[in-house]
Structure formats: C-alpha cells, structure tokens
Amino acid sequence: MKVLHVLKSEPDDTTKKLMDVISGEDKDIFVLYEGDVDWDKFIDEVFSHEKVICWW
C-alpha cells in the first residue's frame, strides 16, 4: 500500500523509526511545517496515495 507520511512538525527519532518500519528507505513525505506549502499539491498527493498518516 502506497503511504504518504505527512509531517506537521519536525519528526523525532520515534517518528522516524515508525516511518522507516512502515515504508523503508524509499518513502513519500509531505512537509507542512516549513517553507511555502503548495496546498493544491498536498491534496493531489493525499489522493494519489492509498494511505495517509499525519504524524505529530
């Protein structure tokens, strides 16, 4: 299952570890906490993945 990892804040070691177990090295991440977020792209990414996890 294709998973999108959404980061609302900088991930700590626990979050990184869980993301690694779920998706391995090659994971799709969308960062919301820095830079200018492209919200249209965010929605496209959400709907092009089968599963989305919004981490802490």
Binding site: T14, L18, D20, K51
Partner: protein
C-alpha cells in the same frame, strides 16, 4: 471494512485518545489503541472506558512495561508497533 490504530504519545490526551478508540469501535470492528512510551495516568473514568474497550474487543498495546504489568496492555516493541501501523488503513496519532 477499514482497520484503525490510535497511537497515543501525548499523555495529556490519553483519555481523549481512548474515547476516540471507543467511538471508532461503534463502526469499525478492528481498532488497536497503542500507548507509546508513557505510563497511563489511571483514573476512574479511564479505567471504566478501558473496560468498555475490552468488552467491545478493541485491542490495547504498549511499549511501556508498566502498562502491561499494571493495566493488562499487551507488550509490543517499537518495531512491532510500526508493523501494526503498516497493517491498518487509518492511523490516528494523539
């Protein structure tokens, strides 16, 4: 039918997370509540709702052994928790 896991890291939200897990069980048969790192701050309302969760066949896991020994959570390592999150359709982090 979707499978759901509620993963609880914020101790202040432990009760809210339990309420969400219970509510989810009304529609979703497979709900896992996973308490990460901290020991449950047990109180009457939490205990009562935890018993409802058990009655409704929700599952409880923790990587904190105190929760296993004192409150009957099933033990799971962080790796095992990651595997559980991999298996479900929806993850709700608290």
């Amino acid at each position: 039918m979707k499978k759901l896991a509620v993963i609880v890291r914020d101790k202040e939200q432990q009760y809210e997370a339990l309420r969400s897990s219970l509510g989810a069980l009304l529609e979703i048969p497979s709900v896992k509540m996973i308490v990460l790192d901290h020991e449950i701050d047990m109180h009457e309302a939490y205990e009562e709702n935890m018993e409802f969760l058990d009655e409704m066949e929700g599952e409880r896991y923790s990587n904190n052994k105190a929760n296993v020994e004192k409150y009957g959570f099933k033990y799971a390592t962080l790796d095992e928790i990651g595997e559980m999150l991999k298996e479900v359709d929806i993850v709700i982090p608290f």
